[in-house]
């Protein structure tokens, strides 16, 4: 095994970005290839980590610990590691990003800059999932902000500048809250005995009953809620979600894939790693709130999706709806629910990426995203329409696809949640289940109006899928089906960690 595997994985894309910087602007294909190769090698590295990941072992693997900046009263450390929670997300990131890079073949302007930002973004995202030091985590979290701002603001749609600034300010404020929460946590930890920024050390300090006097319950509750709001912006949870439709709709296809596929997961990951990991008791205390917000997200997102005229907006709102399932599963504090939450993160990552890719491919041909203008696509571009339909089915949660597994697990979890954790768990489960019907309604209705029905005259002669487009389409759909029919491939990696998280409150 290569030493410092995680560092290599995280910084390889950055190295690729530096190489791209040295290539003259005119050699667009060279730039594309370097970016493609870099993200592909990163993908391979992450699969090597995945293959060598010791299943059944709880705790961090591939750990790296170095002191970075020593300030006298505290040091910022370079601490990396992966466990069952971060491992799937790491692979999700590399897969989605590689496919997004492939899907970026349509980018014709300012190619060099574009791929530099993509690769920087990849480093930031990977860093978030492996960092175990609060400062380092925050650094990577913020690092994703800048590339996304540029990608939306330069290569986006008509309202790109507005969307880019909205994205920057909303998620920036979220990060600001996160920083405040982090350091409040650090400070109380220091008062309790140890000045550390390491997540695992902090979890120990906060779990130690001897510190209960210093770290009061009120403080813990305030801390948890602050963290929750901070990550809610990224996730996004109602009512902090308003940046997402704008960002998604304006972003170029590849960026939408990454945004929905990976960036939203950073919010969920933060919530689970920091919120649930360090303050499990508070997570349990507020489980009812999280569950209720989860249901609100599911229903509200679905209702809004139902009335959208723009196909891409519809997919964006469906993302909000699907993130509600993550909340629901996590809040249940059952093994099944927590598994469902993580499954949903991965599954939605692939499904949303595929949906956004399909919408992008169709828009590229028809120059419209309005559902009413898109009738009868299956007649001119049957392959694209077919994949779109498949993606929609996966999103609805058709058995045999990944969405089904995650929804099933999450709903089972919430249904069997302990009444002490969530008082009206069964009622919540039933209401949430209505969301599935709504999801089926808006997706099927949208599919009926786009792929079937009357063909628009101007769309009579469209070119069907190009060879390069098969790469993201087939890979994503393949992964969705793979997880759907063989969930153990994911399950055996996450189980130990899931049991760990759930056992912290004695569930």
């Amino acid at each position: 095994m290569i030493p410092n595997m995680l560092s290599l994985l995280v910084f390889l894309p950055l190295l690729g970005a530096l190489i791209v910087l040295t290539i003259p602007n005119e050699h667009k294909n060279v730039i594309r290839s370097v970016a493609g190769v870099t993200s592909f090698v990163t993908l391979i590295l992450s699969i090597i980590v995945w293959a060598n990941f010791n299943r059944g072992v709880s705790g961090m693997q591939f750990a790296e610990n170095y002191t970075w900046i020593d300030l006298g009263f505290v040091s910022f450390n370079y601490d990396l590691g992966v466990d069952g929670l971060s491992m799937p997300l790491l692979v999700l990131t590399t897969i989605v990003t590689f496919l997004a890079v492939v899907a970026s073949a349509t980018i014709k302007e300012r190619v060099k800059e574009y791929f530099v930002w993509m690769l920087v973004l990849l480093t930031g995202m990977l860093g978030v999932f492996v960092a175990l030091d609060m400062f380092l985590f925050f650094l990577f979290f913020e690092l994703t902000l800048i590339p996304m701002f540029f990608i939306i603001g330069i290569w986006g749609g008509k309202e790109r500048e507005y969307a880019a600034f909205k994205f920057l300010l909303y998620t920036g404020l979220g990060s600001a809250l996160m920083l405040i929460a982090f350091f409040a946590m650090f400070y109380q930890g220091a008062v309790a005995g140890e000045a550390t920024l390491n997540f695992l050390r902090l979890a120990d300090i906060y779990a130690n009953p001897a510190n209960a006097e210093v770290i009061t319950n009120t403080f813990r509750a305030g801390l948890f809620l602050t963290l929750f709001i901070a990550f809610a912006v990224k996730l996004p949870i109602f009512p902090f979600h308003t940046w997402l439709p704008d960002a998604h709709v304006q972003a170029p296809t590849a960026a939408s894939m990454i945004l929905a596929g990976v960036l939203l997961k950073m919010g969920a990951y933060g919530l689970l790693r920091v919120g649930f990991g360090i303050l499990p008791d508070q997570a349990a205390n507020f489980a009812w709130l999280i569950a209720v917000l989860g249901v609100v997200n599911i229903i509200y997102g679905a209702l809004l999706a139902l009335v959208q005229k723009d196909l891409k907006k519809l997919v964006a709102y469906s993302s909000i709806s699907h993130m509600g399932i993550v909340l629901l599963g996590a809040a249940s504090f059952t093994t099944a629910g927590m598994q469902g939450a993580i499954f949903q993160l991965v599954s939605h990552g692939f499904i949303a990426a595929l949906l956004f890719f399909m919408v992008g491919a169709i828009y590229e041909r028809t120059h419209t995203r309005m559902i009413e203008d898109l009738g009868g696509l299956s007649k001119t571009i049957p392959i694209l329409a077919g994949f779109l339909l498949a993606a929609a089915m996966a999103s609805v949660g058709l058995p045999g696809m990944s969405g089904f597994v995650s929804e099933f697990l999450a709903f089972t979890g919430i249904f069997w949640a302990s009444p002490e954790v969530i008082p009206a768990a069964k009622t919540i489960a039933v209401i949430a289940a209505l969301g599935i019907i709504l999801t089926a309604a808006y997706l099927l209705w949208a599919m009926q109006r786009t792929t079937f029905g009357q063909l628009h005259q101007s769309h009579a002669h469209l070119q069907d899928a190009r060879p390069i487009e098969y790469v993201p389409m087939v890979c994503l759909l393949g992964l969705i089906i793979l997880i759907g029919v063989y969930p153990a491939i994911l399950g055996d990696v996450i189980n130990t960690t899931v049991i760990d998280i759930v056992s912290k409150i004695g569930g």
Binding site: T67, W68, I69, D70, L71, G72, F73, V74, E113, F135, F138, L139, F140, E142, L143, L145, I146, F149, F150, G153, I154, R160, E161, A164, F165, L168, L169, G172, L173, S175, A176, L177, L179, I180, F183, A184, F186, Y187, A190
Partner: protein, 484 residues
């Protein structure tokens, strides 16, 4: 110890700089008053480099001359920051001067050298008199520099405003100092500091008055709210490189001396003033950052951004931390601040001169016209906004951490929220550079060597301080900052 048998070698850097400044001045007026004089600029930069080397060599030994002029790590580090800053300003001026043949070129450089000398004296003084001499040497040079474009109404207005208000501020400072002298019969900060607990017990009102006047006076010099009103006008009117000088160098010098007075003179009654400083810091961050949002003139925008940054720099003083930590925070941020601000000002100066327009829109499409300048500007702006892998980020987190440790959560929240607000105006400039097309033909901009040099140095500083922060903080943690 009297002044006569003191170790005058401690003052070597200052003496050498004074001689060099006079030499530059002499060379300048013997070579005719008008015309291009790049060699004077080069000479000045060399003088500053020599002085930096001398500071590093001679200020290794701590000591003092008659308890008036003190050499300690505090003075040394601030001197290095100041000298680097002035050198960068002169380099910026050299390309600026190419466009403005009507200005007396050599004078500007020698005035900057005298200003640097004044700032050096200031940070080394442990006595009210030396301090005031240094302060006025810096201030008077600054007044002249602000009005250097004498044919321009705005510049003249700036100088006039600056000299009147600056004079008032100096008067406030002197008035505050006179109370201290009256009470203790000494101008030595050390004596004042020793007597402080007793003074405060007996003459509470006078001590508070003195403190109030000094904070007001110095508050003006470092342009913190509510003493900041002059700054946007003066910054806008002054020649752009001088604006950089005022926002960066002169402010840092003002900070240094405020710290020394508060720590040495008024350290004993810390609990009386820390809250005032905290409130000033809060107001400064709020007003600086929000008013910057609506600026369309880039120099005014940077003026408000500089005001906001002064707020961040004040925070460590307000937080009750060990003096060592307070100092390393301030010095770290001061280094970061000088690099990112002067790097940005070099680019602003060059771009606005080229466009003949100080509106933010002069940056439109810069990425096309000069990718190097656009990317570098982005780095400086991102650093000022406090985003990752830059010195500004590490510095801000450092300060923020200190605030949390001293339990000033309210101030921490203000700092973070206002920093986020600042994203908006910093990114507005970035938007112009990358998301707008250049207004004219979009001709390529070829940055002159001096500009490229500053930008490169500042880039190295901005990234280097972040990546190798450990070296600086380790070094600073082991320092015995103030010896008197």
């Amino acid at each position: 110890m009297t002044a006569f048998n003191a170790d005058w070698s401690l003052m070597t850097p200052e003496i050498v700089l004074a001689i060099l400044a006079l030499t530059v001045f002499t060379v300048d007026f013997t070579t005719g008053i008008r015309g291009k004089k790049p060699f004077i600029g080069t000479l000045s930069v060399i003088s500053l480099l020599i002085t930096i080397v001398l500071v590093v060599i001679f200020n290794q030994n701590t000591g003092s001359i008659g308890d008036m002029f003190v050499v300690d790590p505090f003075a040394m580090l601030f001197k290095i920051v100041i000298l680097i800053g002035v050198a960068l300003v002169i380099l910026t001026s050299m390309s600026y001067m190419d466009k403005h043949q009507d200005m007396y070129q050599g004078e500007m450089y020698s005035l900057l050298l005298f200003a640097a000398l004044g700032a050096m004296l200031m940070v080394s003084s442990a006595d009210l008199i030396t301090l005031f001499v240094g302060l006025e040497l810096l201030s008077i040079s600054s007044y002249c520099l602000a009005g250097f474009r004498k044919n321009q109404a705005k510049s003249t207005e700036a100088a006039l405003k600056y000299v009147v208000l600056g004079g008032t501020a100096s008067a406030f400072i002197l008035y505050g100092m006179s109370f201290m002298y009256g009470l203790t019969g000494s101008t030595s900060l050390v004596d004042i500091g020793t007597a402080m607990p007793m003074l405060y017990a007996e003459y509470q009102f006078l001590v508070i008055m003195s403190l109030f006047f000094m904070i007001a006076g110095f508050g003006f010099k470092i342009s913190v709210v509510p003493f900041h009103m002059w700054a946007p006008d003066v910054y806008e009117g002054a020649p752009t490189p001088i604006t950089g000088f005022l926002t960066a160098v002169s402010k840092i010098a003002g900070f240094a001396i405020l710290i020394r007075i508060l720590a040495v003179g008024f350290g004993a009654i810390y609990h009386e003033w820390y809250f005032i400083i905290a409130v000033i810091a809060a107001l400064t961050m709020i007003i600086g950052n929000t008013v910057a949002l609506v600026q369309s003139n880039i120099k005014r925008l940077m003026a408000y951004s500089g005001i906001a940054q002064a707020g961040y720099l004040l925070i460590p003083l307000a937080a009750s931390l060990s003096f060592n930590i307070t100092m390393s925070m301030i010095v770290y941020y001061a280094f970061a601040y000088v690099f990112m601000t002067l790097g940005a000002f070099a680019i602003i100066s060059y771009v606005t001169e080229d466009a003949n327009n100080e509106d933010i829109s002069s940056f439109a499409g810069l990425y096309k016209r000069s990718p190097f300048l656009a990317h570098s500007m982005t780095v400086f702006l991102v650093s000022m906004a406090g985003l990752p892998i830059t010195a500004g980020f590490v510095g801000k987190v450092y300060i923020f951490l200190g605030l949390m440790t001293s339990q000033m959560i309210w101030l921490a929240v203000i700092m973070i929220v206002t920093s986020t607000i600042s994203f908006f105006y910093y990114f507005t400039i970035i938007k112009q550079m990358y998301m707008r097309e250049p207004s004219e033909e979009g001709s390529m901009l070829k940055a002159p060597t001096s500009i490229s040099l500053i930008v490169t140095i500042s880039l190295i500083g901005t990234f280097g301080l972040a990546l190798f922060a450990n070296m600086l903080t380790n070094y600073m943690n082991g320092l015995n900052w103030i010896i008197l």
